[in-house]
């Protein structure tokens, strides 16, 4: 049994079925990667696990430690240890970095701000009192968001394309944070198109048409994705052969 289980989860948005009877387990303390073509349902799956309002009207079950959470609001899920790092983090006009970090921190102290900013490679002296707004670059905001998640000490972290829009230095810091999560025994679910990011995962899941069509070792799934999905003529409509590869 996984720490987080999805059972036959189906979700329609705008008359289109995005998640399609999806069933999957995620294992405690492991780093998982979700790969798949654009529109496969990866970000929707993350939103559904987090309980974002647009993704709440689903059928099926989402279980955390065996307890159904699909009817819980976002904040209650967060208080149970789930959180999400957005592909493009929000801007907060005027809100200081330290206030943002401490909003959900387990230990609300200046030492926490210093520690987590240092961990993502941002100088606390320079960044703690800046605003989380357009004066920060996309990469800086991504690191600040990650710092806020480190301060929260979550049990399960959803990371939507952690490498998008950032430079090599920032990516290194994101991998450091990933190592922190793993060291503390947190479960990580990453959405990615990047082979560099995939290297840091222990298990990979291939999504197509709102379903898991394959799962297993990262190298094998990555090879399959590269050989078949990138050149695939259809858009998120798995063929009979692909479906045959699903290992429940």
């Amino acid at each position: 049994m996984g720490v987080l289980e999805l059972r036959d989860v189906t979700l329609e948005l705008g008359g289109r079925r995005i998640l399609n009877g999806l069933t999957v387990d995620f294992w405690e303390g492991h780093v998982h990667a979700l790969v798949g073509p654009n529109g496969a349902g990866k970000s929707t799956l993350a939103g559904a696990i987090m309980g974002l309002p647009d993704y709440r009207h689903l059928s099926g079950e989402i279980l955390l430690d065996g307890e159904p959470i699909q009817d819980l609001p976002v904040d209650e899920r967060a208080r149970r240890g789930i959180t999400l790092a957005w592909q493009e983090p929000a801007r907060f006009e005027g809100l200081r970095v330290d206030r943002f970090i401490l909003a959900g921190a387990r230990e609300r102290s200046a030492a926490t701000v210093e520690r987590v900013l240092g961990r993502v490679g941002l100088d606390p002296e320079k960044y703690a009192t800046r605003a989380v707004d357009k004066t920060l670059s996309g990469g800086e905001r991504k690191r600040v968001e990650l710092a806020s998640i480190l301060a929260m000490e979550p049990r399960l972290v959803l990371m939507d394309e952690p490498d998008s829009g950032i430079d090599v230095e920032a990516l290194t810091r994101i991998f450091d944070a990933l190592a922190d999560f793993k060291e503390r025994g947190a479960t990580v679910i990453m959405i990615t198109h990047s082979q560099e990011v995939l290297k840091h995962a222990e298990h990979a899941f291939l999504l197509c048409d709102g379903r898991i069509i394959d799962k297993g070792a990262v190298g094998r799934i990555d090879d399959y994705f590269g050989d078949n999905c990138l050149s695939c003529g259809h858009t998120n409509v798995p063929t009979r052969n692909e479906m045959a590869g699903v290992a429940e």
């Binding site: 309002p53 005027g94 809100l95 989380v132 968001e145 806020s148 929260m152």
Partner: protein
Amino acid sequence: MSSPTREQVETARELLASLGDFGGHIKGDDIAHLEVHGNEVVGAHLVPGLQVDVDELDDGIEAWIHLDKGARIAKPVHLCFGMLPAAGLQRILMHVEAEEDSFASVQAHCTFPNAVDITHRMDADVVVGPGATYQYFERHLHGAEGGVIVVPKTRVHVKEGGRFKTEFELIKGMAGVIDFDYEVDCDAHSTLDMIARIIGRGRDKIRINETGHLNGEGATAVLQSHLALRDDAFAEIYNTLTASAPHARGHVDCKEIVQGNAVAKAVPIVEVSHALAHVTHEAAIGSVDSKQLQTLMSRGLDEDAATDLIIEGLLG
């Protein structure tokens, strides 16, 4: 100004106590301050380079504030205006002249902790001399009933190379009725920075009229109004910026968060009459941004706490 009586000292102490953390400014000989309760000066202290004359009127005071040429007032000058009774009128007539190359930062605290039916009117004229800097930060602390009518009306002339910055803040307590009207004329290479930060609650009615005229070459201005409105509060914001000289630059920024049955109206007016001048504006009225809200809720904050934090940032 003569020394205050024991009774006046007690009133000043009570007035300052109502300011909470903001009331501890009168310690220190190097800090200038003036406390006015109703129409009575109940405390004052001046520093070299700063002159203040006050006449007590029937319903308030008339004050002349003068900064000597080249005077640099190192620490903020504190003004405290207020009334402890529940009802009454306080009228402040203020004339400010900051002479050439002088500097002062004034923090005005207006406190009406027991207000039920109070009117606080301020009519000010300010002249900021060449190369001088005059900053005026006005913080209002009202009681929970909102029974205050606040009518600040100010006319400012910023001479060549001068800087004028004003901030109006009402975040704690109910606003009541605010009719804020500032108009500033800017000469060449002068700078204007005008900010209003207000939270409206209950049945508050707020009217903001910020006007800047960039009359001189290279003059610059930023007008900002950031409001958060809840319950049945109503606000209308008029930001007007005109530019009639080469290389004048200006920006108008109006942001309002509206919740409950509150209503907000923003009217930015930008008028440019010189081809080398440039003025921009942005106005946004809406509910709390859903992505910001969801981000904070995904850290475990409930919706109210997340909303408060977002507003704190906007008005901070």
